[in-house]
C-alpha cells in the first residue's frame, strides 16, 4: 500500500520561474489493483508518478510504502526502495539505444549480482512471452513502437517488482496496440501486481479493467473514485 499525505513538488523554488507541479495531494493506492491517474497534460500527474516511484523527492509531505517512510530517505536508500518495489515503463520507453532488446531487458538486474546464465534465460523468457523471441538480438532502435514498449515492459518486470508504473503508455501506439497493452496490464494485475498508469487517453481511462480512476487538474486531485 502506498500512502501520500500532503505531498507537494515545487520546481525552481525561490526563483522567479517557480512552478508548483503538485500542490498538496493525499492519496492511498491499494495493492493489487489497477489505478489510473487521469488529467490533461500539465496537470501534474507525471510528476506525481515520479514522486510515488521514488524517482524524485517531494518538496513537502510524506510518502509511505507499506508503512515505511520513503520521502525523507537519502538517494542511496531511495534507489534501494525503487529497485525493490517498482518497475517503470516510461512514456518514451527510455531504452538504451545501440543495445539489443535482450541487453536492455537485463539492465535493472545487473547491479544485483545474479548469475549470468539464469538472468539471460529469464530475460529471454519474458521477451518470448511478449512475442519478441525473434527480436531479442536486434538493436532497440530497429524495433517498432509497440515492440519497444513490450521490451520496456519486459525490462520493468525483470526484477519481479510489486508495482508496475506506466507513464502515458498509449501516447505513441495505434489502436490495435492499445488493446494489446491493456491485455498485458490486465494480466499483470491478475498476477497480483499493483499497476499504476497515467493517461489522458479515453481508450485507457474508459477501459473496463481499470479498478480506480483518479482525476487531476493543476497539481491537485479533483476526483477520486473509491
Amino acid at each position: 500500500m502506498i500512502t501520500l499525505e500532503g505531498v507537494t513538488k515545487v520546481f525552481d523554488q525561490g526563483r522567479h520561474n517557480q512552478v508548483t507541479a503538485v500542490g498538496g495531494v493525499d492519496l492511498v493506492i491499494a495493492d493489487g489493483r489497477l489505478t489510473v491517474l487521469r488529467g490533461p497534460s500539465g496537470s501534474g500527474k507525471t510528476t506525481l508518478l515520479t514522486l510515488i516511484g521514488c524517482l524524485a523527492r517531494p518538496t513537502t509531505g510524506r510518502i509511505r510504502i507499506d508503512g515505511e517512510m520513503v520521502s525523507g530517505l537519502p538517494e542511496r536508500f531511495l534507489t534501494e526502495v525503487r529497485r525493490r518495489t517498482f518497475g517503470f515503463v516510461f512514456q518514451k520507453f527510455n531504452l538504451i539505444r545501440g543495445l539489443s532488446a535482450l541487453d536492455n531487458v537485463v539492465l535493472p538486474a545487473l547491479p544485483l549480482g545474479v548469475a549470468h546464465r539464469p538472468l539471460v534465460e529469464r530475460a529471454f523468457a519474458l521477451l518470448d512471452h511478449f512475442g519478441l523471441a525473434d527480436r531479442a538480438e536486434l538493436a532497440v532502435e530497429n524495433l517498432s513502437g509497440g515492440e519497444a514498449q513490450r521490451v520496456a515492459i519486459a525490462r520493468a518486470l525483470i526484477n519481479d517488482p510489486a508495482v508496475i508504473v506506466a507513464d502515458e503508455p498509449t501516447a505513441s501506439l495505434d489502436g490495435a496496440r492499445v488493446g494489446q497493452f491493456l491485455a498485458i496490464a490486465e494480466e499483470l494485475r491478475r498476477s497480483g501486481k499493483t499497476v499504476l498508469i497515467t493517461s489522458h487517453d479515453p481508450r485507457i481511462t474508459e477501459a473496463a479493467i481499470v479498478d480506480r480512476l483518479v482525476t487531476m487538474a493543476d497539481g491537485r486531485i479533483v476526483e477520486a473514485a473509491p
Binding site: H116, V120, E121, A123, F124, D128, A136
Partner: protein
C-alpha cells in the same frame, strides 16, 4: 513458446580478459626476450674499458657542434660566441643543459 535463449554470445568481461591477458603476455614476452637475451653487463664492461683506455670524457651522441659533443669541456661561452644575446642555433643543443661548473676565475676590484 519453445524458443531458446541465445547462448553463443561472448561476454564483454571474457573479451576483456582475453585482450588484456594477451597484451600482458605479449608485454611479458617482449620484456623477457629483451631482458634475458641482452649481454648488458659484458657490453658495458667492454665499453667502459674503452673509455678508460682512451680517457674519454663524454658521449658521442651529438656531434654537430663542439659544445654539444663535449658539453662539460666546452668553453662556457661557446653557445654565445656570436654575441651574448644570439639565439641558440644547433638543434641538439636544446636537448642538453649548460655545464654548471663555472670558470675558476674571479673579478677583483682594488683601490689604488
Amino acid at each position: 513458446m519453445t524458443a531458446r535463449a541465445p547462448s553463443g554470445r561472448l561476454r564483454g568481461s571474457t573479451v576483456t580478459a582475453i585482450v588484456f591477458g594477451g597484451l600482458l603476455l605479449l608485454a611479458a614476452g617482449l620484456g623477457a626476450v629483451s631482458l634475458i637475451g641482452a649481454d648488458t653487463a659484458g657490453r658495458r664492461d667492454r665499453a667502459a674499458a674503452l673509455v678508460a683506455e682512451l680517457a674519454l670524457s663524454d658521449l658521442a651522441l651529438f656531434t654537430e657542434a663542439r659544445y654539444t659533443r663535449n658539453p662539460a669541456l666546452a668553453d662556457l661561452h661557446t653557445p654565445f660566441q656570436d654575441g651574448p644575446a644570439s639565439l641558440e642555433h644547433f638543434p641538439t643543443a636544446s636537448l642538453i643543459v649548460a655545464p654548471r661548473g663555472l670558470p675558476a676565475g674571479r673579478l677583483e676590484a682594488r683601490e689604488e
